[in-house]
């Protein structure tokens, strides 16, 4: 039994080392003056100072956040509204909505980007705007994760029953949906939104095809500068990773605080 436990621990440590190794090495590399031999030499913050004063990179972060946040908001609102209609008025349409929402998961993002570009790039419509195109592709791209997350949360809390109970107490269903159901599923909603946000914030492939020349995000910046100063790039990667971690932590903390208040 004890031997079994030791083996388990060794296995866990091996997996953790395997997963964390690239991050730890990148972190050490970004702080070292030189790394020519096995052990890095010296300690410096020079690359961080350089990166954090690089306005192109900082603007890239802001652009990356904006292009990740807007599609997440649009998709979440759209799916919440669509599922409200399905649950309240068109229960037998659920399978159809599910099919439409899950189709994007079967198509590669790069193929979607190339196809959309080929279809709309030359047209003189709003669809030919590269940033608009990018946001819309991102919306489609995160649709399956968002739909599945929201759908599961809505059915787990017996949404139809709650809306009927509120209706019997004199409230309109949509009012109850916004004031009771959505706050109840908020933790699940935040988790799926966070996953989508992290996925979009880390994207460089689609943005490179669609709008890299007009709208350079931090990831696209890293891709463009991949052959320049590697240590400066390591510092940039560490900064991006920290930003993602901070966002994750903030969302989880806010959800846990809410649960704590409820439990009290």
């Amino acid at each position: 039994m004890k031997e079994h436990k030791v083996l388990k621990t060794i296995w866990k440590v091996c997996v953790a080392v395997f997963l964390l190794m690239p991050l730890v090495v990148t972190l050490i590399y970004s702080f070292s003056e030189r790394w020519i031999n096995i052990i890095p030499e010296g300690f410096t913050l020079e690359y961080y100072v350089k990166t954090l004063t690089n306005t192109t990179f900082l603007m890239g972060i802001v652009r990356g956040m904006v292009t990740a946040l807007i599609p997440v908001l649009i998709t979440n609102i759209s799916v919440l509204l669509a599922l409200y209609v399905v649950i309240v008025y068109l229960q037998n349409m659920e399978k159809v909505v599910q099919l439409f929402c899950l189709i994007p998961s079967t198509i590669n993002g790069i193929i979607v980007a190339t196809s959309v570009l080929g279809t709309y790039a030359g047209s003189d419509t709003v669809f030919s705007n590269r940033i608009f195109m990018l946001v819309m592709i991102y919306c489609v791209f995160i649709m399956p994760v968002t739909y599945q997350g929201i759908r599961n949360s809505l059915y787990a809390v017996n949404t139809a029953g709650i809306l009927e109970a509120a209706e019997m107490l004199g409230y309109r269903k949509f009012h109850s949906y916004v004031t009771i159901v959505i706050p109840t599923i908020l933790p699940g909603l935040c988790n799926s939104a966070l996953m989508s946000f992290a996925g979009l914030f880390g994207d460089f492939a689609i943005i490179k095809i669609i709008a890299a020349s007009q709208w350079e995000t931090a990831q696209a910046y890293l891709y463009r500068n991949r052959s320049t100063d590697a240590q400066e790039l390591s510092a940039a990667v560490v900064i991006l990773l920290l930003i993602t971690l901070v966002i994750n932590y903030a969302v989880h903390k806010s959800q846990n605080d809410k649960k704590g208040v409820r439990a009290e």
């Binding site: 029953g161 709650i162 109970a165 019997m168 009771i180 439990a263």
Partner: protein, 341 residues
């Protein structure tokens, strides 16, 4: 004029005709139970009254007013659901106050009403708890308090006790009945459990396949079932065709209707008793099943199996395959129709 009137209510879901011309009256302050097997239309009828389902034909009147097409929000009807449907993001007190807020009630008055309702269901100390922190029974009591705090004209209970364990269920049956009488609130209760219907109701409306099979007091429905279905659903009657009955008693009676016999009206003994106004016949015990304080025998009489109940007493247990004499008072053999007229 009755307080609630259902007139020729028809309702279908696609090709499934769920309610077939229901006519039913409910008096003010009465507790009427809609009883029937799954799929008989009892919940649909309740939801039609609540306004949660559209009536396709017929009308519903409440307190003399036609509410057939009135929005559910405006009907002034309180409802308790099978799955409680409490608001998980609100405390118990907030759940109760939710229905009062829309009435624009003053805060102090609202607090008083909420406290009074919580006191009525015995959950004053749980005012600040969230639904997730309560047991099933407590959640159901909160749901009841939430439905009555707004002082609705009618209270609807849609199988509210079906998810609760047997012991607590019995306590809640008594509690709900007590509160209903205290408030004198007109109540319609839906259940598929005939014992529950017996305990709680002023009258029972027995439904089968979208039609009213029988309507009456618990005593009248239990002792005078009108149809084969009513006899079979309430009281576990032995229901048999006239020729089967003749075979059972061993003589020709020339009955034209099916016969229903309650298991507890059949007396079992080792010897023949030669009683007056009784049928007496011999049978063989097939099996015996304890059902609480009652022992239910299945007895084979001339190839017909019937049930007979006796009190569960150790000194009067008959062995399987033993021969016994059965006696049955003639007045306890009831004529029943094939279907409701």
């Amino acid at each position: 004029m009755a307080y609630i009137e259902f007139k020729n209510i028809n309702k279908s879901f696609g090709s499934n005709h769920v309610l077939k011309g229901i006519d039913l009256n409910v008096e003010k302050g009465e507790l009427l139970t809609l009883l029937g097997p799954s799929g008989c239309g009892k919940s649909t009828l309740l939801r039609c009254l609540a306004g949660l389902e559209e009536v396709q034909e017929g009308s519903i009147y409440l307190d003399g007013k036609d509410i057939t097409h009135t929005d559910a929000r405006l009907r002034q009807i309180g409802m308790v659901f099978q799955q409680y449907s409490l608001f998980p993001n609100m405390t118990v007190a907030q759940n109760l106050a939710f229905g009062l807020k829309i009435k624009k009630m003053a805060k102090e008055e609202m607090k008083k009403e909420v406290s009074a309702a919580l006191k009525m269901v015995g959950l004053e100390e749980k005012a600040n708890a969230y639904p997730g922190q309560l047991s099933g029974g407590q959640q159901q009591r909160v749901a009841l308090a939430r439905a009555i705090v707004t002082k609705p004209k009618v209270l609807l209970l849609d199988e509210p006790l079906s998810a609760i364990d047997a012991k607590l269920r019995k306590n809640l049956q008594i509690e709900i009945r007590k509160i209903q009488k205290e408030l004198n609130i007109t109540t319609i209760f839906v259940t598929h459990d005939q014992d529950e219907a017996m305990v709680m109701s002023d009258r029972i409306c027995l439904l089968n396949e979208g039609r009213i099979e029988q309507l009456g007091t618990p005593v009248s429905i239990y002792t005078e079932p009108k149809t084969k279905f009513a006899a079979g659903f309430i009281g576990h009657y032995n229901v048999m065709k006239p020729e089967e009955f003749d075979k059972l008693i061993g003589e020709k009676c020339n009955r034209t209707h099916a016969v229903a016999i309650r298991p507890e009206t059949i007396a079992i003994s080792k010897e023949k008793k030669n009683l007056e106004n009784c049928y007496e016949f011999k049978g063989k015990v097939v099996e015996s099943l304890p059902r609480g304080n009652v022992l239910r025998y299945t007895i084979d009489v001339n190839g017909i199996e019937i049930s007979a109940d006796t009190l569960f007493r150790s000194f009067s247990i008959f062995e399987d395959q033993s021969e016994v004499w059965l006696s049955l008072e003639k007045r306890n053999c009831l004529d029943v129709e094939e279907t409701a007229v």
